[in-house]
Amino acid sequence: MEKKNGNTSLITSNQLRWFYYLVPVAALIIPFVANEYLLWIVNAILVYTLVTVGFNIIIGNLGQLAFANTAFFGIGAYTSAILMVYGGVPYTLSILMSAIVGGLAGFLASVTALRGIRLYYLAIITLAFGELMRWVYLHGDDVTKGSDGLRIPDDIFFLGIPLDSEVPKFFVFLLLAVLLVKATSNLMRSRIGRAIVAIRENEATTASLGIHTARYIVLAFVWSGSVVGVAGAMFAVLTERVLPEAFGLTEVIIHFGMVLVGGTGSIVGSVIGAITLTTLPEYFRQFPGMDELFFGIIIVLVLLFLPKGIVSLLWRISPAFKERYYRD
């Protein structure tokens, strides 16, 4: 589309669309140039991309201070692991179940929001919910194996592909990430996505446009829960052992940080946040405390100097990077 007001723009939104499709295609060369460890990090980035995209729907688009997403993540991971370990359920099917159970958890969280528990109350009750889930994992010894964690089986297949090393995991994760990010983008750039953002902007007047606000609050939470649930199922395979500590308060902070550092309400921002906060702290992990120190400082700096996230740097290159809630 043409830019009005003489906005200088190096990239038009049409070119940008191609760029978006090129990224996953270009990513296909990664397994040929990266070693197992680097590939593991790339796979982790793919998992966290979905975590962040899902979380961002609640924080950025719907504008609710709900921290239940780490719980959705854990619920997704444990759902998949338990089904595979005890039910012999194929991985492909267990991913679907993680999406469904994650969505149910999202529904539960949305009910509290609909009961008028908002802002800090919502933040605190969702934090408590996450910690209660962690307690269940820790004390559900018979099923979850407590703090030892639940080891997933060695022979995991995705549609016949054995996931026995990082390379096949990469292709499967890339596929899942691209599909879900695209689907989320479709959703957010439609009348549904607009209704969700409208609720963030002004819930009362949204209803005056005939928009059933409760329905879209539920939808946002359920979709977020499902996407993050799938991420959980991926995480189970990535780490091969599902541990309660992986879903604690520290992880809530990391996930929240990814959303804010990348950019609230922006899908591109979510990807940037996942990349930044997966790789950088990984580098500093060798020194105790440095990863946290570094992580905290990055977020503080972003909050002070880039309140719209790192993605706002891209806006200077082209306004086409700004999140829009429709598609030409």
């Binding site: 609909l114 109350y121 910690e131 307690w135 929240f256």
Partner: protein, 291 residues
Amino acid sequence: MDIFLQLTLSGLSQGAIFALIALSLTVVYRATTIVNFGHGDFVMAGAFFVYVLVIYVELPYVFAAISAVLIMLGMGLGVSRGFIDPIKAGPHIGFAMMSISLGYVLRGGARFLWGREVFPMPRVFDIEPFFIGNLVVTGDVLFISAIVAVFLLIFFFIFYRTTTGVIIQAVYQSERGATLIGVNVRAFHQSMWGVGLAMGALAGILIAPISLLHPDLGATFLIRGFAAMTLGGFGSLGGAVVGGLLLGVAEQLFGFYINSSLQDITAYLIIVAVLVIRPAGLFGRTVTVRV
């Protein structure tokens, strides 16, 4: 019955610390409408300063404690001025993340400086336990309860019986009104951050001698502070105290009479139960969030 009383007593002394944390969160929240999600780490920092000053600088405990409170008071002013004021125009999500991140920096700093160990602190309140009837009273229980009780008396005296307190209450009621009578709201916010963190540090100082210190100490206390606030009524000063004491007792009783593993999650169960059944808590005004 003896067991019940004994549990109640140790619950109350635990609860006194939760009350202090909840109260310090409330002081900041009432003044600025910001909930300090990094408060647990500030409490931890207070405890660590005491540890450093006692072990490395070899200050007597009392002086170390006073210094730590003053350091955290200054930190509160600095946080408000340097990190909260600049993002004032932004949404609440930014405040939440800012406070979390600052806490994270403190935690990372503590871990960086001390590695991954846990530290025993020399016992300070080391007196012989004595009996009241069949009740055992240890030095810890006695000192913590006494110090918190004295502090609360001073706090509520200042708040309800002095001019300063009246002014603070006035600003809580209406910032615009306060500006009209010449109160500098910005300075007020800063000092309330200072007071809040100093009170948190006091809690940290009391925790330090009775528990092992480690950088992750804060999280558990933060959630307990939230639970105490929620139970007492979010934003109510007296409620924070009562909520903290009740939470301390509830943890002991749940842990003993129902299941010891329940002690860890009493706080979470209370948060969920209160918010679902009666979001206003015991003493809060009815919360009406416009939907």
